[in-house]
């Protein structure tokens, strides 16, 4: 006799997000950098800001911070990011 069993995964359609249109150049643009709360991330972001300004001609760098790497972005921080042409975010150890 056949054994009929059920799929254990969520099988729910997950809302898909789309990549924003790529910028052709960063020159003259406003770029946001997200500090995700990890220790010493500011050292990495300071270096990144220098590179963006000196090598890519970025006009303005805006810095954002979320309190904790493992919790969602506060909505007010997300809203403030709309002032940017691009934002750099990531997680790592």
């Amino acid at each position: 006799m056949a054994i009929c069993v059920l799929d254990p995964t969520s099988e729910e359609a997950v809302a898909t997000s789309h990549r924003a249109a790529r910028l052709s150049s960063l020159a003259g643009r406003t770029v946001g950098l997200l500090d995700n709360g990890k220790l010493r991330v500011h050292e990495l972001l300071n270096h990144l800001e220098t590179l963006l300004r000196t090598e890519h001609g970025v006009a303005e760098v805006l810095r954002f911070k979320k309190p904790d790497a493992s919790r969602p972005m506060p909505p007010e921080v997300l809203a403030a990011m709309h002032a940017c042409d691009a934002v750099i975010s990531g997680v790592g150890d």
Binding site: I3, C4, P8, S10, D68
Partner: protein, 350 residues
């Protein structure tokens, strides 16, 4: 005439042999590596009925990625773990607790730090399900203890993608990630049960869940003095602060009968234990030099900066459990201080 339950929505697969089912699920990565019980519609329906849940009911939502935990899917994984239907209300209560914001389910399950869920069950449901609170309590031997904890892990794997190397970024993990669920020995302890201390009314059943690192076993069989006994527990916590993580949060402390009887005979309650441990689990940044961490002694607040294991005495989860003989105990440290906090949740209709 009773109404027929709503139909199940999951995709079904048909096989001729039980072993084929296991091979298929293993091949799909739908297990923790151990064999599974085939989740048939009848078994899944029995789990849902035991917890009085409709298949489409949302048990909780993982907050970061907004993934829903639907009752039907939780039941499928509960069957796969080897649970009896009667265990389902416990699994549901644990998942509801883990979806609370303070538990930080996403962070604690994805982290390189590799945490497990330490689950303590209190109240009448422990005895109704035949759970173990005595011999070998932190390990194998009891179906309910073993499969309830495992069901939670399978839900993380199959519903939330907490798969090693994918969302689960654990560097090491620890054996508790297979399953880590115990009952408190309420019958053989003079102390207030953990859930009651955390606000659950007497007579109700509840779970408490903590994102934890591996248990650290200790021993002191050479004193009857509660302060000396607890000094050994405190030393272990300080050692964890030095070698693993200094951040304060919920620690669990499991006290088996031999040491429990000595501490209780001196008139100590759980609150006295919490106060003592709170006072004796502090250290200074300079002590890191003794464990190879000299380079961070001068950072931040400098060598005299003081750290505490607990934010307040109530952070300590004191649990009466373990076999009758042996002057052992265990400390179960938090994953990462208070970034994930212990959550207590009542079990519906228990």
């Amino acid at each position: 005439m009773t109404q027929a339950p709503p139909p199940l929505q999951s995709t079904t697969y048909a096989f001729d042999e039980v072993l084929e089912v296991n091979e298929f699920y293993q091949g799909k990565g739908w297990t923790d590596g151990l064999p599974i019980v085939p989740p048939t519609a009848a078994q899944v329906a029995a789990c849902l009925e035991a917890a009085h849940l409709a298949p489409g009911e949302v048990i909780g939502i993982e907050r970061v990625r907004q993934r829903r935990l639907l009752a039907e899917k939780v039941a499928v994984n509960t069957v796969m773990a080897g649970c009896r239907p009667a265990y389902m209300p416990v699994v549901v209560a644990i998942l509801r607790a883990m979806c609370q914001e303070p538990f930080n389910m996403h962070g604690s399950t994805a982290s390189t730090g590799g945490s497990a869920q330490f689950i303590v069950v209190n109240g009448p449901i422990r005895t109704a399900l035949g759970m173990n609170a005595t011999h070998n309590v932190l390990a194998n031997g009891n179906r309910a203890n073993a499969t309830i904890g495992r069901a939670v892990r399978l839900v993380l794997i199959n519903l939330l993608g907490v798969i090693p190397g994918q969302l689960d970024r654990s560097t090491l993990g620890h054996p508790g990630k297979y399953t880590f669920c115990i009952a408190e020995d309420e019958e053989d302890s003079p102390w207030t049960p953990l859930a009651k201390l955390r606000g659950v009314p007497a007579g109700r059943s509840a779970i408490t869940v903590l994102a934890c690192e591996a248990p650290r076993q200790l021993m002191n069989e050479w004193t009857h003095d509660p302060e000396e006994i607890l000094a050994t527990f405190a030393a272990d916590m300080r050692h964890n602060m030095l070698t693993y993580s200094v951040w304060s949060g919920n620690y669990a402390m499991v006290i088996p009968k031999q040491l429990r009887d000595l501490i209780a005979a001196a008139g100590w309650q759980k609150q006295d234990i919490q106060d003592f441990i709170f006072r004796h689990t502090r250290l200074f940044r300079r002590e890191w030099a003794t464990v190879g961490k000299r380079t961070i002694v001068d950072r931040s607040g400098g060598p005299q900066q003081e750290f505490r294991a607990l934010r307040e005495p109530a952070d300590l989860l004191v649990v009466a459990a373990g076999g009758p003989a042996g002057g052992f105990g265990a400390i179960i440290p938090p994953w990462l201080g208070s970034k994930a906090q212990a959550v207590t949740h009542v079990i519906d209709e228990w």
